[in-house]
Structures are given as C-alpha cells and as structure tokens.
Amino acid sequence: MIRIENVTKRYPGGQEALSGLDLSVDTGEMVFVTGHSGAGKSTLLRLIALIERPTAGQVIVDSQNTRRVKRRKIPAYRRQIGMVFQDHKLLYDRTVFDNVALPLIIAGVNHRDAGRRVRAALDQVSLLHKEKQRPETLSAGEQQRVGIARAIVTRPKLLIADEPTGNLDPDLSLEVMRIFRRFNEVGVTLLIASHDISLIDRLGCRRIALEDGRLQQESDPWQ
C-alpha cells in the first residue's frame, strides 16, 4: 500500500527531516511509526498526504508515485486517504454532523446518501447522539472521534494518523486505538505516528522506529 524508497526530505536551511528512508506498509496492515519529536514521523505522513514533496526518493501510495501527481490533482489524491490529526482540525462553526459530512460534500455525494453515511460513521465512533452539537461542546476524546469519523466517512483504503492520542489520557487513547483496530479488521490499512510506546505494545502491531530521519529499528510481534 505504501512504499517509501530512499526518501530524503531537506528543509530550506539544510535541516534534514528524513535521510534516505526505506520502508513499506502492506495492504491491510496496521503500522505504528514511533520516535522522538523531530525524528521525522510527521514529515513522513506529510509526504504521504502530499502536503510536502520529498527532496529525493520515491513515495508510492497504492501503486501511485506521488511524484507524478500534479498540483491540480492533489485534492483528488487526498480524497483517497483518510487523515486524522493530533489537533483534530475540526471546523468549529458547524455541527458534528456537518464536520463529518464535509468530505462527502467535497466529493459530491448526494444529500440522502451523505446523511446515511455520516450517521454510519458517527455510529462507528459511538457519537451518533451528538450529531447536532458543535465540536467545542465535546470533550477532547469526543472531538478526536469526530475527526476519525470524518476520516473514514468516505471509506478510504488507507488511513494515516499523526499523534491521534497526543492530547488524550490513557483510557481515551486506548479507546481511540480500539476504534482504529476495528477499521483494520475490516481491511483498512493504517499508518499511525505515535510516541506512546506502552500503548502500542498492548496492541501488538508492527512498529517502525525513526531516529533523526532514519530507520532505527523495526519490530514485528508476529515474527
């Protein structure tokens, strides 16, 4: 699903966030990327989401070389990927329902279908009863679940999440991870950046550790 080949990302000023990184994620996997802040986790996800482009190397997502995705085609490319952010990135001037519906509206799904799918997505994160509320009236954990519902409402094959539990306490974090796990069980590929190692160990998923933009260690509980 994801192939990173010898990718280097250098920022103006010479600072290297990723240096010759190689890794791959198979379809249907749930993989964690760990490392200290500044290790290159976010950069990796940003390259996959085409928020940035690599200085060198190839990023191949679902057999598409991102190098060949033209600027004009980036929106359509992003619509294939579900994205979850540490700060949720919700729109606070509209309801939970409208937030989750946004990707469908962007994709041009008709109203009736959109309503059904938004409710299905909210149901999966157990927030169906809060669809009419505004995000600021929800707890941090609930807001993150709204963010997750928005990421999966278009039923993407790939979901990437950048520190999705960064602002949550351990119980809420575990709950969020369980939700991710359920998506994984129905075939969604997940790539999650996190530094919460104890939590990751409890889930028993493959872990990719980055340090200074390089692969430090890979561990697979199944091997």
């Binding site: 928020i51 929106p75 359509a76 294939q80 990707p103």
Partner: protein
C-alpha cells in the same frame, strides 16, 4: 484507486450525476454564503450600501440627463424660427416664397406675416400705437414664421436654416433655439463625464468587494486549510467566496435601484410644480426595465469580478501546513 479523471468522483465514494452535483452544490453554497452575510447584518449592509451608492450615482445622473434631453429635445425640433425678408420684396412675392418653403419636406408649415399685419399687431400689443402712427413708413419687413417638421435633427435644422438664409429674398434668419443646442452640447459632455466617472466607480466597487472578500478569506484561513487538507480543490474553497461577491453585487444593485427610484419620487413634486409654471406636461422618465436590469447586472458582474480576482490571488497561497 487511481486518481480518476473526474475530480469529483473518487472510488469508493459513489457520486451522483455531474449536473445534479453541480446544481446542488451551487444552491447550498449560495444559501450558505447568503446566510453568512445575514449573520453579520450591519457589516454586510454597510458594504451593500457603499456598492449601492456607487452604482446609484452615475445611474441617477444619467436619468437626470436623459430627462433634461427629452424635455429640451421636444423644444429643439418644434421651435419655430423667424425669417425676415428684404424690404424691397413685395407682399405677393413674399407670400409665394412662403408657400414655396412650406412645400419642403423638412418644413411643417410656414405662416406669412406681411409688414402691415406685423405693424398692426405690434401697435396693438406694444401700446405705442399713437407714436408708431407718426412714423413716415412701415419699418418692419415681411416675415415668414417657419415651423420645421418633427423629423428634423439638430443638424438638418441648421442646414434648413442655412438654406433659407441663403435665398436672395431673405435678409435674416432669426433662430431662438441656439441655446437649446448649446444645452445639448453640455448634456453630451455631462454624459461623457458620467461614462468616465462610472468607469472609475466600477473599479472602486471591484476594489471594495475584493478587499472585503480578502478579509473574509483571512478570517476563514484555518477553515480553508482544513478543507484543502481533506481533499477540497481550489474551485471548491473558492466557490462560497464567489457567491459572496455575487450577493454583494446583486443586493448592491437592487439597493441602487431603490435609491434612484426614491430620488425620482422626491423630485416628482418640484417637477410637477415647474411643469405647471410652464403650462406644459413634463413627466419624469424613470429607469426603464433594460436600464434597471443593466444596473443590477453590472452590480453582479462587478461583484463576481472583485471576488474572482481576489480568490484567484489568495486561494492558491493558502495551503495546509
């Protein structure tokens, strides 16, 4: 799951037909933008008022010029002018000349006033009857009062007067309508000036709307970033702002119409009084349907142009960080 050609249809999302998507999106975006304006009624009203005044000003002056033209225009071509014959022309020759001129296509009718009739009339009206009786002869010439045909333009009128003036029997053509022509020349200048002024005001509207939308974009920067992050195209994030510009222009245009009509309503009384003084029937012509549509259409066009230019500049720059 390759990026599809149709930017809207992305597997596995099942999309509706392109046309119905287009219509639904625009309707909901249009209503959304209108709702946004309604949520800040005072600020929106102020901007709409500025646009309305800017549109109403040239429109109102144009209406005034049009009215002045139609009033003076009715004088222009219907005005009689006097033709004084040379002293040596006899009554019969003068009357014959009058009939000849009366046959011209561009002349409605000619009245022949003999020198004697003129004197008699003058005696009666001036009250100098006795004094005039002391004169040795009649100092007045025979006169033709020429009424030009209604189809004359100011050019053909001048030509007619010149041709008559060049006849050997004619001493002098007295035209009392020169001031009307001068007045028309002034109106033409005013009209030109409005054209130039309206162009500048149009630029002002584009700038006002552009600037308002720019602030709006800045205020919603986070929202635009998030929307782009989850796959919205430039066109998608741009659409509500284009609609905002369109609404500003449309509402500004409608309010401009209201302002012009209200102004004309205020003028109705004084004009009726003036009309009474001149014992004529001056009716204030208002804005026609076409002109009204043109004002509203211009408002919409300028609103769209302002928002188009602004969004084109700013939307590309706002990218997720």
């Amino acid at each position: 799951m390759a990026v599809t050609r149709n930017a809207d249809a992305v597997a596995p999302v099942r999309s509706s037909g392109p046309l119905s998507i287009w219509v639904t999106r625009h309707v909901s975006t249009a209503l959304g933008s209108l709702g946004r304006l309604a949520r800040q009624p005072f600020a929106s009203f102020m901007i709409i008022l500025v646009i309305a005044v800017t549109l109403a000003l040239p429109a109102a002056i144009n209406v005034v010029v049009k009215n002045a033209r139609s009033v003076s225009g009715s004088w222009d071509n219907a005005f009689d002018f006097s033709v004084f014959l040379k002293q040596e022309i006899s009554v019969d020759d003068g009357a014959a000349l009058g009939r000849l001129i009366g046959q011209r296509a561009d002349v409605d009718k000619v009245d022949f006033i003999s020198a004697d009739d003129a004197l008699a009339e003058f005696k009666k009206q001036s009250g100098f009857g006795d004094a005039l009786s002391q004169l040795p002869g009649n100092p007045l010439p025979h006169t033709l009062v020429v009424r030009p045909g209604a189809g004359n333009t100011s050019e053909s009128l001048t030509l007619l007067q010149e041709e008559i003036g060049n006849l050997p029997e004619i001493d002098h053509v007295q035209v009392d309508t020169e001031w009307v022509q001068r007045f028309h020349a002034i109106l033409d200048i005013v009209r030109q000036a409005i054209g130039i002024g309206a162009g500048l005001l149009g630029v002002a509207i584009v700038v006002i709307i552009g600037n308002t939308i720019r602030l709006d974009i800045e205020n919603r920067r986070d929202e635009i970033e998030v929307t782009k992050l989850i796959g919205a195209s430039n066109a998608f994030v741009r659409r509500p702002f284009l609609w905002t510009g369109l609404w500003y222009g449309l509402l500004g245009g409608l309010m401009a119409l209201a302002l012009v009509h209200y102004g004309l309503y205020l003028l109705e009384g004084p004009v009726a009084r003036l009309s009474g003084l001149y014992q004529s029937n001056i009716v204030v012509a208002s804005l026609g349907l076409e002109e009204s549509a043109a004002i509203v259409g211009l408002g919409i066009f300028l609103g769209l142009l302002g928002s188009w230019l602004t969004t084109a500049r700013h939307m590309r720059r706002i990218e997720p960080r």
